[in-house]
């Protein structure tokens, strides 16, 4: 078994699942009906992407794991998602900023993975890219709408940037399995990805009249399983049913 391929696939899956779960918490609470539907549709896309990735990881592991056991029966230290994605939803500005930052990253990442030497990762990436294009356009427009909106909406976007920017560095800090994946030609090279991401952020932030923060002290750890308490809370809710009634289906 190729351990770095399994870990890398789980990393991609965990990112999609945790953000998908966070977005799903908006269901029934969106600011207006259309945007409630938008954020939960994005959630559905992400959870769907996570399923393909977990199914593939389970197939690679060959130890009886299933997509469900990987999502519902792992402990928080086994999850590899970036800290950014487990942050609480906050207000709409926080949710929008988190989505924008991540979609911009995911689009560039999947564009590289389309050419992955691993056929299944390449297939999942090209399938997901079409969905990510919608997520990125939608979240970019909202960053601009709020940033260049009213005094209140601008202030809220600034607060979101203050609260979340410290988690953006981790996206580009390669974990050991990402280095392994990149060297074997099935993972992305994060260095080249970073400058393209910064360019995208700069474009959208300029239009949104938001300054791009500099000299922020970054927080790391999620990719290596060192999470904030927020992930534990997510897992407690998300895994409760499978842990209480193992194998429950409906």
């Amino acid at each position: 078994m190729n351990q770095s391929l399994v870990d890398y696939t789980l990393y991609l899956a965990d990112n999609a699942l945790i953000l998908g779960h966070r977005n799903s918490e908006w269901c029934g609470h969106g600011p207006v009906l259309e945007q409630d539907i938008a954020i939960t549709n994005i959630s559905l896309d992400l959870i769907g992407q996570a399923r393909y990735l977990y199914q593939y990881a389970a197939e690679l592991k060959k130890d009886g794991s299933t997509e469900d056991s990987l999502a519902y029966l792992r402990e928080d230290h086994e999850f590899k998602n970036c800290l950014l994605l487990e942050q609480p939803n906050g207000d709409w500005a926080h949710t929008i900023l988190r989505q924008f930052v991540f979609s911009a990253y995911q689009q560039l990442l999947y564009q590289q993975l389309q050419r992955s030497k691993d056929e299944q990762l390449a297939a999942i990436a090209s399938k997901s890219l079409k969905e990510v294009a919608y997520h990125l356009r939608w979240s970019s427009e909202w960053v601009i709408r709020l940033g260049d909106g009213t005094e209140e909406s601008h202030k809220r976007m600034m607060n979101a940037v203050d609260d979340l920017w410290m988690y953006t560095g981790e996206l580009f800090q390669a974990a050991s399995y990402e280095l392994g994946a990149a060297s074997k030609g099935f993972g992305a090279d994060l260095t080249s990805l970073k400058s393209a991401w910064e360019q995208k952020v700069k474009e959208v932030f300029e239009e949104a009249t938001l300054p791009v923060p500099t000299n922020v002290s970054m927080k790391y750890g999620g990719k290596e399983g060192k999470h904030s308490g927020h992930l534990g809370v997510i897992l407690a809710e998300m895994q409760h049913l499978q842990r209480t009634y193992p194998g429950a289906e409906w």
């Binding site: 945007q35 549709n41 393909y52 399938k127 939608w138 601009i144 959208v204």
Partner: protein, 167 residues
């Protein structure tokens, strides 16, 4: 039980045409363009389907309905396999499917992919109202009641409608 050897590929397509999309029952799975390949092997029929959107819950139902349809016709050895690459596109929807959608009140996808342009605040594409045929329509939200649809409203007849978006 009928042996799978005795069924023609034409007949398999006919059986598939009877299976409706659970979310948009006016479309068959063939109209939707998700049936990519049919392989007849020794006592086994393999049907390759291409999922629409990653998280679309209709896909699991469709897979089950395909197996049930073949079982109902005495064909038990049917495998439905998801094929992710090349990714599904609305270009694969049949003309017949587009016509049925319009009649059902859903604007079909435009012939050319226009939406996934990354340009921000782009003019929403010209989508024809399925009720009054006007092109004076406006997008309300690019996300709708299912992952494949966007919400539109017709400026001419004031009716809201769903648009099956290009993908």
């Amino acid at each position: 039980m009928i042996s799978t050897k005795n069924i023609s590929v034409d007949k398999i397509w006919k059986l598939l045409e009877e299976i409706a999309d659970p979310e948009i029952p006016v479309l068959s799975v063939v109209d939707l363009g998700i049936i990519r390949e049919i392989n007849e092997k020794e006592n086994l029929i393999e049907i390759m389907i291409s999922p629409t959107y990653s998280g679309c819950p209709a896909m699991d139902v469709i897979k089950m309905n395909i197996r049930m349809q073949f079982q109902a016709h005495g064909l038990k050895d049917v495998r439905v396999i998801e094929k992710l690459f090349p990714p599904w596109t609305t270009d694969w929807m049949t003309e017949e499917g587009k016509r049925k959608l319009r009649e059902y009140g859903i604007a079909p996808p435009n012939p050319r992919q226009q939406v996934c342009d990354s340009k921000l605040f782009a003019e929403s594409e010209a989508v024809q109202c399925p009720r009054c045929d006007s092109y004076r329509t406006r997008r309300v939200s690019e996300f709708g009641s299912t992952p494949c649809k966007a919400l539109y409203v017709c400026v001419s007849c004031q009716e809201p409608f769903d648009h099956f978006k290009c993908h």
